[in-house]
Amino acid sequence: MTNPAHKKHDFIGRSVLSALAFLKDATLSEEYANRKGFLQSLDPRFKTISFLLFLVTVVSLKSIVLISPFYLLCLILALLSGIPLRNFLLRTLFFIPLFSLFIVLPTLFSIVTPGEPVWSFHVVGITGIITRPGLDGAVLFVVRIATSVSLVVLLSVTTRHSELLKVLRVFGIPQLFVLTVSMCYRYLYLFATMVENIFTAVKSRVGVVSHQRQGQNVVAWNIANTWNRTTQMSEEVYMAMISRGYTGEPRLLSKFHATPKDWLWLLCAVVICASLFYRGHTL
């Protein structure tokens, strides 16, 4: 049967499945965090503080020459931490700066950033002029965004989410919040898997019956079912917590182990940031 509607349905199904798989892989799996590498071996507190330091410096610097060393640093750190460069570049260079382009695009033009025109064009009677300061500002902006995004990606990819959350604890965020968010994370993964399974199940059933209506019913029923399971599950998880002594104020493991290597790393980070910051503000 070569029904085009059927094919389309299948295409949507496959796209949803692969989108889900990507989402699960990109945000929820902690593949790189579990590898052995330089960044993975650092104490999450020291790592977070040093990356915050980098970020602040990158944002405050106004010269591409001074920002690019940080980008180079990111690439070196990625290599030292077992992250394939291709994968890392894809994540940072391609996806996220794409969004920042939408922010930067208006500042290119003369209305927003006046100056010497570099290139002008006419679209339906409107004259657009790209200015020199506008272009320079845009390039700087993109480099800055790319570097900041690289830093954030690097930190989040090499640290388990639960540990990042625990670093928040160190900064005085309540334990209950940390527990709740980490549990959301954990069950999000479970639900993604559940939706995936349901999708496959529906597809296999629709495949046999090949009856659009029936397929829709199965989908509707499964969505309702997922919802029920979700609420029931949260009740049961609560019971499981009660059973092991939870009384409303959770207590979690909080120990981090700082080594001389962590201090050394922090010292390096401070020196790098201070010297580039100094150069940036005396030039």
Partner: protein, 269 residues
């Protein structure tokens, strides 16, 4: 009687007031006993274990634990609640429910930490428990990415870390390979020899001989249809068959059709 752990008198429980799950259950469990609760799906085994763990409370009838009535408001006092929770541990039927922490290590630590055990002692216990259940290599893994058998072992470890007097197991061997089943049976038998009281809900008749001295059979009426020593229950085939615990096996042998029961204790040909 000071060694009575649980005493249930005419216990009734229904979900949302309209789905009956237990109807008139009477039971006395003494310290150090090995008990199995068997019954078809939906006969109230999990509900019973949750009642015994003080997670739900009967609509009618009484549950007494360690000589005190289990009441909902007795859980309001943190000290009293902790005292009970430290004595009774439940391994849930669904390990995904039980393991809610971001890492295996933290899941094992959760119980002891709630009871105020110091972190050094907790770290020591994690290693000890991981060794008993052979999960040292899983400590830094994410619980939901483990296999069913690994999750089950982690779930048991999370209860063992509390070191309760009474273990409640809900289908501990469902869906596991023979070696893992063996490991878990050994764990149960071992714990019992150390004086722990064990109550297991299961469908798996093969393991009952080892994990229980006394067996309660739950029927479709959601109450106990028979209680007795494990041999006497396992030998009562008509009882087991009428309660969906064994079934007739029909297959071909040398071209002749052949019907026999699927027996719990003997391997079938």
């Amino acid at each position: 009687m000071s060694d009575t752990v649980f005493e249930l008198k005419d216990v009734h429980y229904s979900y949302l007031g309209k789905f009956p799950a237990l109807c008139g259950v009477n039971m006395t469990i003494r310290s150090g006993e090995k008990i199995a609760v068997i019954g078809a799906n939906g006969t109230g085994k999990s509900t019973l274990l949750q009642l015994l763990d003080g997670l739900i409370f009967p609509d009618r009838g009484t549950v007494t634990a360690f000589g005190e009535r289990l009441l909902e408001h007795s859980q309001d006092n943190e000290k009293a609640a902790h005292r009970f929770r430290q004595r009774v541990g439940l391994v849930f039927q669904n390990a995904d429910i039980q393991l809610f922490c971001p890492s295996v290590r933290e899941d094992i630590a959760f119980g002891p930490l709630q009871f105020g055990v110091a972190e050094d002692e907790v770290s020591r216990r994690i290693l000890e428990v991981a060794e008993v259940l052979d999960i040292q290599h899983l400590l830094d893994r994410v619980p939901h990415q483990l296999s069913i058998g690994e999750k089950r072992r982690v779930a048991i470890a999370s209860v063992l870390a509390i070191d309760p007097d009474v273990y409640l197991f809900d289908e501990p061997t469902a869906g596991l390979d023979p070696l893992t089943v063996r490991h878990i049976i050994d764990f149960i038998v071992n714990a019992n020899q150390r004086g722990k009281t064990i109550i297991t809900a299961t469908h798996d008749l093969h393991i009952i001989g080892e994990i229980a001295d006394t067996v309660y059979v739950f029927g479709r009426n959601k109450s106990i249809v028979r209680g007795g020593s494990s041999e006497s229950v396992l030998n009562d085939r008509s009882l087991l068959e009428s309660n969906n615990l064994i079934h007739m096996h029909r297959h071909h042998h040398d071209g002749r059709e052949h019907v026999h029961q699927h027996l719990p204790l003997e391997p079938h040909d």
